[in-house]
Amino acid sequence: MSTRTIQGQKNLQNINQASKDGIGGSPLRPDGNLKVKGEFAYSSDLWHEDMLWGMALRSPHPRANILSVDIADALKVPGVYAVLTHEDIPGTKYYGLEIQDQPALAIDKVRYHGEAIALVAADHPETARRAVKKIKVEYEVLTPITTEEQCLDPETHGYVHEPHEFKSHGYGNICHEQKLVSGLGVTDEVRALADVIVKGSYEVGMQDQAFLGPESGLAVPAEDGGIDLYIATQWLHVDRQQMAPVLALPEEKVRLTLAGVGGAFGGREDISMQIHACLLAQHTGKPVKIVYARDESFYGHVHRHPARMTYEHGATRDGKLVFADCRIVLDGGAYASASPAVVGNAASLGHGPYVIPNVKMHAIALYSNNPSCGAMRGFGAVQAAFGYETQMDRLAAELGMDPVELRQLNAMSEGDFMPTGQQIDSPAPVAELLRRVKDMPLPPPLDTEHLDVRQLPGALSNTSHGEGIVRGVGYSVGIKNVGFSEGFDDYSTARVRLEVIGGEPVAMVHTAMAEVGQGGVTVHAQIARTELGVEQVTIHPANTEVGSAGSTSASRQTYMTGGAVKLAAEAVKQALIEKGRRRYGWTQHDLTLTGGKVVSPSTGALVSMVDLLGDEAIDLTREHHHRPTVPFDKETGQGFGHVQYTFCANRAVVDVDIELGLVKVVELTAVQDVGKALNPLSVVGQIQGGCTQALGLAVMEEIIVKDGKVRNASFTDYLIPTILDTPPIPVEILELPDPHAPYGLRGVGEAPTVSATPSIVAAIRNATGLALNRIPVRPEHLTTEAPGPK
């Protein structure tokens, strides 16, 4: 086992040292220079001669019947080239990731605030904006279905989708549900086996991905009647699959190329403006660019499911968990998006990384007239972690135990079983992660002598000079799956080409992987260097000319596309060696490629790759599939449903101004097992970024939805952490290889987002003694709530 500790200050010394550029090193991003020069072309930077600007008219109502749409005045605005409604859609009118329930433009009714009804293409964004305002829509406004109680009583409150309208997995306003029972389940007899029982109800608000680069792209009509779309997305091929039928084009005529992506975090897994831009381009015959404004971005993508959860845990006097019973209700909003898969995750991961002999679970996603929810970093595991980790703290308090010890006592490890019956067949160092995070040095106490108010809660607002400030410490650990689960054949494709350019062997890597900032492009070059023993690697632009790479989500890209690059590079290597065997009659079986040469460990360098290749290129494509999984049984939740698990433990230290209800996170520490760090610099960056989004959910981030209407669609009102809100995030990584994964690696990006939130709330509870059953914790909760646990 190896570990690394990388903290802010220490990092500085490492930066100036040269690193090796293969796997395990930290070479710099290939796109870094372009990005710091402002020359990297993000999707909103695209420009085409003669291009038009597209814009959508969006519903001001969460639920209404559309009685009429009058586009005549909009069409008369000088500079307007097209105004389209659903009637202008040439193909099928619905699309969706898992259930095709979402109309590309509203048909006869709107189901959420901000749903697109009509489109305009014009010569200037302002012209488009003015024309959009001139479209007249007559609505019959209906009372929105927004609460769990309303959703579950369609007889009284109605259906979001009438039963005949959609092919839901559930019934009524239930989009999807998953039950799970293991051991004896949770019955009164089982309850009787526990000495202590704690119950709690928890709520998680609606978080937004809030990536900085707005949804945008450029659709260019092609001469063959097809369309070229330059787009910021997470998965080129699944976009195309959903788009082609709507555009009434065969898939091969819908060509997508990845344009620069300014962050994603799940928010680009669904279609946003892709179809709209293409429809406008088809109708006008001109290139059309759409760039969302920030408010439109809040309306135009799915969010993290808000959740209501009840948990009941029972344990013996000495702290051993006996049972856990849980119900998780996720509000999926108007359209299904990824809700079914999110439910599967919440149900199967909803008890945390603990061994619990008897388990019951019921997770559901509702259809409502609230904004649609789907994928966001942590995908269903985040909400549950707030529930089970709060329960662990309560149980510890009830038992008079140290909360970390209680967790360690029940922590799962390799060989244990998930509540789904799946045996964990790779390292699961849950107790070890907790031990390490606890052993990390604590930050020094607040120095009231040399106080800099900028360190205090309230910071620059100068709200305190140290009075009323109380410090707290909290711990948490979480579990997340890697890759797509429940029987999905989640694969990726890579093409690797080796040739001599300018007297040097050069490898080219071509995949359709969406680089959204995570650093996949860096890692692909590292893998090609390692496998092929070359220095020069170029990364081909990601597009649909090569097979699908799957989504940049579920922490899966290094595992899946990295794995495909490894397979393709190995194939190229074998082909090259084979060429040498044919030419030179080599008989050794242990040949490798190193330093631009074919090398035998026994007899040394045999030939340079340049000589062996000559002017021939070796160009091979390979697919990487992970081992198969199965869907969970609908009633019992049993099944080998997940490919890989990943774990992270956190410690948060907070200062709370208990008079004003202000919180300052002083430090947020993370220890995570990454299997193998292919690029330690990126790995640490991912963990720190993930922790910061968790911090946002803990104390500030929420889309406020009232009666179905979004109240804070701007960065003025939807707050994400600034550099002042974000503390130092010391990170320690463990590398316990997973025998089933390429290089033993483990997906990294999501685990910290799952685990870190509860540690911050625990620290605030530790400081204040309040119950805090809802996140984000806001000032009013800290100043008015009752002490807990209730």
């Binding site: 930066i15 710091v36 990536f211 900085l212 300014g262 404004a293 900032g517 960065f715 600034t722 550099i723």
Partner: protein, 161 residues
């Protein structure tokens, strides 16, 4: 209207500018300088930060007409003529402070301005100076590293000169 100003030392002009257009729009869509980014266009995120007569401003909040005859310096102007990275740019690359990079241009300009004022800012100074620049990817730790690195290199350079 026509707007004439200096961008990164070169005179530029834009025709048919609508009065409501921002400097950000003119830079990005009219004069071929898309380096400054459009994340909120409301002065909340700092991605569009540029120097206007030497002072960092959110270009999304500056009306195009206001820049008439003035000097703008954007992220594109932080590299030298040959395209060699400026010190702050290099530090961001070296420290791994760039992930998606959408926040980066604004942060670079703001950091450049900070170090011009104070070559050795404390951590609290850095946090205060960059508090108007949102980054959603990095968790800011590596941005802190980058600024500290740029500061160290600025001081090194000053002593060696």
């Amino acid at each position: 209207m026509r707007v004439t100003f200096t961008a990164n030392g070169k005179p530029v002009e834009a025709d048919d500018v609508w009065e409501g257009e921002s400097l950000l729009y003119v830079l990005r869509e009219r004069v071929g300088l898309p380096g400054s980014k459009n994340a909120c266009e409301q002065g909340e995120c700092g991605s569009c930060t540029v120097y206007l007569d030497g002072v960092p401003v959110c270009s999304c909040l500056v009306a195009a007409g206001q820049v008439q005859d003035r000097e703008v310096r954007t992220v594109e102007g932080l590299s030298d003529e040959q395209g060699e990275l400026g010190l702050v740019q290099q530090a961001f690359v070296d420290a791994g402070a760039v992930q998606c990079g959408f926040c980066t241009p604004g942060l670079l300009v703001q950091t450049d301005a900070l170090l011009a004022k104070d070559a050795q800012p404390s951590d609290n100074d850095i946090r205060e100076a960059l508090s108007g620049n949102l980054c959603r990817c990095t968790g800011y730790e590596k941005i802190m590293d980058a600024v500290r690195l740029a500061s160290a290199r600025t001081c090194e350079r000053a002593t060696s000169e």
